[in-house]
């Protein structure tokens, strides 16, 4: 009888502790109005603006052009910010960048985009050098103030320099050549669902790009479309 009484008292105490000590179950009373956003959300909080390589004279040799030629030892413009917001608290994500097509001028001229030479013309890098973003930087990704969860997102095309007018800034990075068939993985934040250590908050990096203009390229106004894709990546 004594043992059963102790068990009874222990059970009552355990339950009261659960109910009274800021239990997460108590917090569920606040969730009664949630009827749509059941599993949190994953979205682009900020997307880099259109890249512009400016106007150049037809070169006699393959020439690099930069989207941010004036940034030689400072921050990228804030418009080059790429920010993912994850409020799910579970599961991971990836961000990829793909070229929809080659650079076309609307006529017959083309600047080919491929991840193999000699058409490896368009490259992208990421960098944490951005103005006015407060948070903690790990491996090229800024985890903005208020972020919680594992800081394990890999910026796979990350550069450690902040000179975006140098060819080497773009050629010293691996797997950063844009292609029309295979996307570049820019951010890899894959997580397992079972780990229970998902992320909540904003993750930011800056972006910059370089385009090689082939020798004797025909004159024209060249454009292409790049697609940023944000996907759940949970294993």
């Amino acid at each position: 009888m004594r043992y059963k009484k102790q068990l009874f008292i222990g059970t009552v105490l355990a339950l009261s502790l659960n109910l009274l000590c800021s239990g997460v179950a108590l917090g569920e009373s606040d969730q009664s109005t949630v009827n749509v956003d059941r599993v949190g959300s994953l979205s682009f909080f900020a997307i880099p603006s259109n890249f512009d390589f400016g106007t150049i004279t037809t070169p006699g040799a393959r020439t690099p052009e930069f989207s941010d030629p004036t940034v030689v030892s400072s921050n990228l413009p804030i418009g080059k910010r790429l920010t993912v917001e994850d409020t799910r608290g579970a599961g991971g994500f990836t961000v990829t960048l793909s070229a929809n097509d080659n650079f076309l001028d609307g006529g017959t001229n083309t600047i080919l985009i491929s991840n193999t030479a000699p058409n490896d013309n368009l490259r992208i890098v990421t960098s944490p050098f951005l103005p006015g973003i407060s948070g903690t930087t790990t491996n090229g990704v800024i985890y903005e103030t208020g972020f919680s969860g594992p800081s394990t997102v890999n910026a796979l095309v990350n550069t450690l320099t902040n000179d975006f007018s140098q060819e080497s800034t773009f050629t010293n990075v691996s797997n950063n050549i844009l292609d029309t068939s295979t996307p570049v993985v820019v951010l890899d934040g894959t997580l397992t669902l079972a780990s229970g250590d998902g992320r909540v908050g904003l993750m930011t990096t800056g972006t910059s790009s370089m385009l090689y203009i082939p020798a004797f390229q025909g004159a024209g106004q060249y454009t292409t479309t790049l697609t940023w894709t944000l996907s759940d990546s949970t294993t």
Binding site: F8, A25, T225, T227
Partner: protein
Amino acid sequence: MNIRQRLVISLLMLMTVANVTFAQTSATQQTSSTQQSQTQQTPPNPQTEQQKGFMMFPDDANRILPYQLIYELKPGETVHDTLVLQNKDNFINKLFIYAVDNKGTDGKYDLKNSDEANTNKLVGTWVALPATTVALQPLETQIMPINITVPQDTPLGDYVGGIALEKRVPAKDYANVIIASRVTVKVNIKVTDNPQKVPKFSDLDYKLQQLYLPLSIWIFIIGILYYLGAQKREKHAKKHHGQKH
């Protein structure tokens, strides 16, 4: 200890275990609710407002990978489902929505771009959407129905594709690179002759979670009262027994 006491103890123990279990399953919802309330409380100011984007996710999430769509279907079978589309911006977002094949190899999830044809006649063509464009009003949430039909002659196996919600930024100032951004929901379909039901976070779970707190408080109060009553009865019985002797 009589049968009633045992029953109360068992109930209390069950509630204690359930408390922990429910707390774990609802951990992700707490954060999402916080986010939603923050979004709704932000005063609209289109002039200075930072872009916050848009999102898409399954309406009735499954328990395996809640942010993806998972089905087991027979050849020729059709399934109806819904997606939630949300605009987090304080301005209208005009978006494109489309289903598309996966072009990744070796298990990679690389969806085709919007202008690539679904030549493989796979998941990208199996998904039927009611519209190709959608205009989301500021902070609006829309539910979009989807129908997925596996063609009758589809070989058994696992298939992957996706549904993309995409924003295209129009070219201006002679920019050389036009930007499109999209969020996707991965669609995993197992075509089998013996499809199993994919477990979902059904409405029953949410109702149970909402009922859980008042229910546990009532059982807690009843348990305490019953315990105090039992103590009193026991003391009374001992006293009565002592008096007899």
